[in-house]
Symmetry: none
Amino acid sequence: MADKILIVDDEKEIADLVALFLENENFTVFKCYTAKDALTCIEKETLDLAILDIMLPGMSGLQICQKIRENHRYPIIMLTAKGEATDKITGLALGADDYITKPFLPLELVARVKAQLRRYKRYNTPEEERQEEILEHAGLVMNIRTHECLLNEKPLPLTPTEFSILRILCEQKGKVVSSEELFHRIWGDEYFSKSSNTITVHIRHLREKMGDSFEEPKYIKTVWGCGYKIEI
Amino acid sequence: MADKILIVDDEKEIADLVALFLENENFTVFKCYTAKDALTCIEKETLDLAILDIMLPGMSGLQICQKIRENHRYPIIMLTAKGEATDKITGLALGADDYITKPFLPLELVARVKAQLRRYKRYNTPEEERQEEILEHAGLVMNIRTHECLLNEKPLPLTPTEFSILRILCEQKGKVVSSEELFHRIWGDEYFSKSSNTITVHIRHLREKMGDSFEEPKYIKTVWGCGYKIEI
DNA sequence: GAGAATTTATTAAGCTTTTATTAAGGCATC
DNA sequence: GATGCCTTAATAAAAGCTTAATAAATTCTC
């Protein structure tokens, strides 16, 4: 059976355009121009995916996103205008799965829709596990699944190792984690094959990228003789 | 069985909203508007998590937090208004696991609740062991996990060795611990390679930092010929 | 009770350990 | 083979620990 997709946008042209392209791919499309209609549709239909414009008159797309997440966990893609970076992040934290910046190429949107549906069907993971996929703390947002990291609404490009370290610290924020523990959790038992200075260097890179300093760290704090921690 | 969550906030709307969202996620929610009710609930129910507002009339959320920690180790999330940063620190040292700043997005709260519950269940170490994570005595609070130490609500910066010594004394408060025993517990069997004066010096530093004097010690008392103890 | 012996306190300087910084080389991936 | 990432190593800086010398307090001995 064809997947059912909801598109909500008060700019009629955009909603129509998206609907057209999706129908062309044999999806069943529900098109709404207002938040009110959208809410009705969410309740009545069994959807497989939703595309929401962030800026809507009345209720914002984020609120709709929230409403959906109260009862469903199918993928949600947010549409954002350039410069609405803030909302984009909040959207992810609230449970959106992807976002597309306007203006966009219709085919790109179609591609993302398919990607999300594929993922949704393959890994239909329980709600709890999905929640874990986003770590958030004091302006820092880590999306484990997409491997994205944002700092104060701006993308923070991290290398794989840096990402792992920051992730471990965030998952146990507050707790002091020793270099050795970090090592074991990232490289397994190869600890002694590597100089224990490696972690230090990665920490430095992280601090640099985050605009943090050793003397007065906002994020990664050194606990002498013990390890590192993210101050809550 | 559904996890049991306590929410305490004198602002009814907030407590109600939180309760609503949590119930929606199939949690069993106990809602309290006053500290008094909260204390009753803590005693009577077997909870899995507590959400406490820091500002409450009568008793503060911090005190409730402390009360809970006297007997339980389940996660505690504090609700704080913007600018209450100081309390935040105290809260953590007292054993809170996370805090959320008002105003917050309900779904974010739900996410954090789930994250804490998962962590709690994953590392569900035996009750006794977790108890030890927070030591408290006469205005002195030691949080082993975060390696923080507070004296009369103010941070007390300790070096690793000082922290270890104070921790050992606190863990066995009342009991006299000899220098030799301290040595063995901190440095293993290297005792005889080091002058036995080392401990003395560390004790002095501790007393200095704690505003304690040798003649009339409030915290670390010398027991002549035996060792040191923390007077109960 | 006086003085010796023992234990603890005080102090500050030198030493060791730990962490930070920097840059270069190596490894892998594309 | 060019790029980016990881590791290493060498050096610097910071922080903490120990030592040793001296002073004070307590206990022991006579």
